[in-house]
């Protein structure tokens, strides 16, 4: 890989490669430390082996207001296992030490950054091999200090594009978000019980025209046909959180079966990223 290739960043390299192959990205989300540190790391390894193109990793927080019951419960499992932000960074660093190229994003709530200080939090994220950080409860209007510290540490600040964003807001987010834009498939909190809403292609198109990095769709993605619909609407990928985490919840106490089921899920979801014909 040339120096300039490397400088482009892992997300840019991934989306360029998939674009040439005519594929979208499948990005599973899991909570770091769910159900405990060791199993969590093994599950993440399985995600990668089974074909995940990138990873979205949650840092457990006591009061996750953007999350539905499945991901709340995952955070509780991790917290009850004693998982701290330091443990999360260690898991990420371990994964990075074995996988140089896979893009890894962190999803976190603001108070976890405040405690450590945003500057040192982003430094630590960067040192742990993370590529991006999305702060679920910091909207663009409050984001300037966060984004500045992120960029200074070489972390891509990722912003959410909600379905109710005005055209102006979409253009603003297109300029602020780095690495990728996280497009919400529907209103509400995370969860696979409600499917992503109908056509989003005009909003995705508007983001692209405004110069956004690749658009990834999340919320309500639980089946390969959702992934396909996301790709066909012009997105570069799809994130499945609650559907992935639910597999861990359903197989607690049986790590082997968890990994088997997770592997099967990733393979089937990845198949939805390949364009037909």
């Amino acid at each position: 890989m040339s120096g300039s290739e490397k400088k482009k960043g892992r997300y840019a390299r991934l989306f360029a490669r998939l674009g040439e192959a005519g594929e979208g990205a499948f990005i599973p989300f899991v909570m770091l430390g769910d159900p405990n540190e060791g199993e969590s790391e093994a599950i993440i390894e399985t995600l990668i082996e089974s074909g995940a193109d990138a990873l979205e990793l949650g840092m457990p927080f006591s009061d996750p207001i953007a999350d539905g019951p499945v991901i709340q419960t995952a955070a509780n499992r991790a917290l009850e296992a004693g998982i701290t932000p330091d443990d999360c960074f260690r898991i990420a660093a371990n994964i990075r030490s074995r996988h140089e190229d896979i893009p890894m994003g962190l999803l976190v709530y603001a108070n976890l950054l405040i405690g450590r200080g945003p500057e040192s939090f982003y430094e630590r994220a960067s040192a742990s091999g993370l590529d991006s950080v999305l702060v679920a409860d910091v909207p663009t209007v409050e984001a300037s200090a966060f984004a500045r510290h992120a960029l200074a540490s070489g972390i891509d600040p990722v912003f959410i594009v909600p379905p109710n964003a005005s055209d102006d807001k979409i253009r603003e987010i297109a300029g602020l978000t780095k690495g990728y834009a996280y497009f919400l498939g529907r209103a509400g909190v995370t969860g696979a019980d409600r499917e992503m809403a109908a056509p989003v292609s005009s909003r995705v198109e508007l983001l692209k025209r405004a110069g956004s990095p690749p658009v990834v769709i999340g919320f309500g993605i639980s089946r390969p046909l959702h992934v396909r619909a996301a790709i066909e609407s012009g997105a570069a990928g799809a994130i499945a959180g609650s559907a992935t985490v639910a597999i861990i919840a359903e197989n607690l106490g049986d790590p082997e079966k968890t990994r088997e089921e997770v592997a099967r899920f990733v393979r089937v979801m990845k198949s939805g990223t390949r364009r037909l014909g």
Partner: protein
């Protein structure tokens, strides 16, 4: 912290998922417009008068202060319709919700007082109403659960986290992030994202405005201090707001010290917390060293909250107001004492404020004039308090 919206010094802001920002921005604009609309304010004042029973009396305690040099007046928000100060701002917000074309209300409640106030407003304005309430609070405030249901409100038990007020707010925010198109979230305190801390203060300001006028009539001077209990802080801000620019008046908030500040069973956010982000604003928060929110404790469900409104953080940081802990035991003593001495059963929340004023009164060497916000009545607490208080049967 750099804050763009609704800043109180370094505190406040709008720290919510992006999806709620358009709704909050619309709410802030509607609120600003309504404040300047004489017709809106006339309807608000009219309802406060004819429906809620304002103005509430300012009552001078006859017996309570015997043996001290203090004169204590009680601002009788306990006599407001609904049984607590909560009704004031609920009427303001429901009028605003109607003005914005919303047809459904959601709210959180701790002690159930805000839930009851929201339920009565929902009934009055014929809006579908759902109140989120921690299942722990539903147990200790069963009569209020029944009152809400009687008025046609759906009470949703919250089983997550500590099953208290904090968790009820989480659930209400989650509901709102899917329902904002037809739903107004009637947040019950001066915490939360902008514009709630400002809006709720303005709708509660009437408490201090009346008290100031009433004390001038009764005593011909301003009080030396005003006291109020602080959970999220709405009754305290309502009492403080018109006195903030009166430097001779001390502003004193009673925080719930629970089992004592040397234990971890308390809710004294300003004394024992540090700044962080909970429920949409940058303010003091009870949290562990990693930033996980800690469970608070108070005998009083309405004060059992690990956060506090951002303006209180500002008043604390600048020293304009002081916040002092009152333990469960001290609040229970004040609860009993006010019942005995004046024939007024206070809410456990308000008993914290009274206990603090009495502490000051005991230590004062000079005659002092105090106003205590008696924010709610204690009927709701009787079942819970009974096992704690041994009565002499005469």
């Amino acid at each position: 912290m750099e804050i763009s919206n609704g800043a109180f010094g370094e505190f406040g802001g709008m720290f919510v998922p992006e999806i709620l920002v358009p709704t909050l921005t619309e709410l802030a604009a509607a609120f600003e417009e309504a404040l300047r609309d004489p017709a809106f304010m006339a309807e608000f004042d009219g309802l406060l008068r004819e429906y809620a029973g304002r103005e509430t009396p300012l009552y001078r305690c006859r017996n309570l202060t015997a043996g001290t040099k203090a004169t204590i007046y009680l601002k009788r928000e306990d006599l407001l319709h609904g049984g607590a100060h909560k009704t004031n701002q609920v009427i303001g917000q429901v009028l605003l919700a109607r003005r914005m074309g919303k047809t459904r209300l959601i709210a959180e409640t701790g002690a159930g007082q805000h839930g009851v106030a929201t339920a009565l407003a929902g009934a009055l304005f014929k809006m579908r109403t759902r109140v989120y309430m921690g299942s722990k609070d539903m147990e200790r405030q069963a009569p209020n659960v029944w009152r809400m249901r009687l008025m046609g409100t759906e009470v949703m038990p919250v089983e997550t986290g500590s099953r208290g007020l904090k968790d009820a707010i989480n659930e209400a925010l989650r509901d709102w992030s899917a329902s904002y198109e037809d739903t107004h979230y009637l947040l019950g305190t001066v915490a939360g994202p902008h514009p709630f801390p400002t809006m709720v203060r303005e709708f509660q300001r009437v408490i201090g405005r009346e008290a100031k006028r009433q004390i001038m009539v009764a005593e011909g001077r301003l009080p030396d201090a005003v006291f109020a209990c602080v959970g999220g802080g709405s009754n305290a801000i309502g009492m403080f707001a018109d006195f903030i620019d009166e430097p001779s008046v001390r502003l004193i908030g009673a925080e719930p010290a629970g089992h004592g500040l040397h234990t971890d069973k308390h809710g004294s956010t300003l004394e024992k917390g540090r700044p962080g982000i909970l429920h949409g604003s940058y303010s003091y928060v009870l949290q562990d060293e990693n930033g996980q929110i800690r469970e608070s404790h108070s005998i009083s469900a309405g004060l059992d909250y690990p956060g506090v409104g951002p303006q209180h953080s500002y008043l604390h940081r600048t020293g304009r107001a002081q916040y002092i802990g009152i333990t469960d035991a001290e609040a229970l003593d004040a609860f009993t004492l006010l019942s005995r001495e004046e024939g007024i059963i206070p809410a456990l929340e308000s008993a914290h404020a009274l206990a603090l004023a009495l502490k000051f009164a005991m230590e004062d060497k000079e005659p002092r004039l105090y106003v205590v916000n008696l924010s709610g009545r204690g009927d709701k607490d009787v079942d819970q308090v009974m096992p704690h208080i041994k009565l002499e049967v005469r």
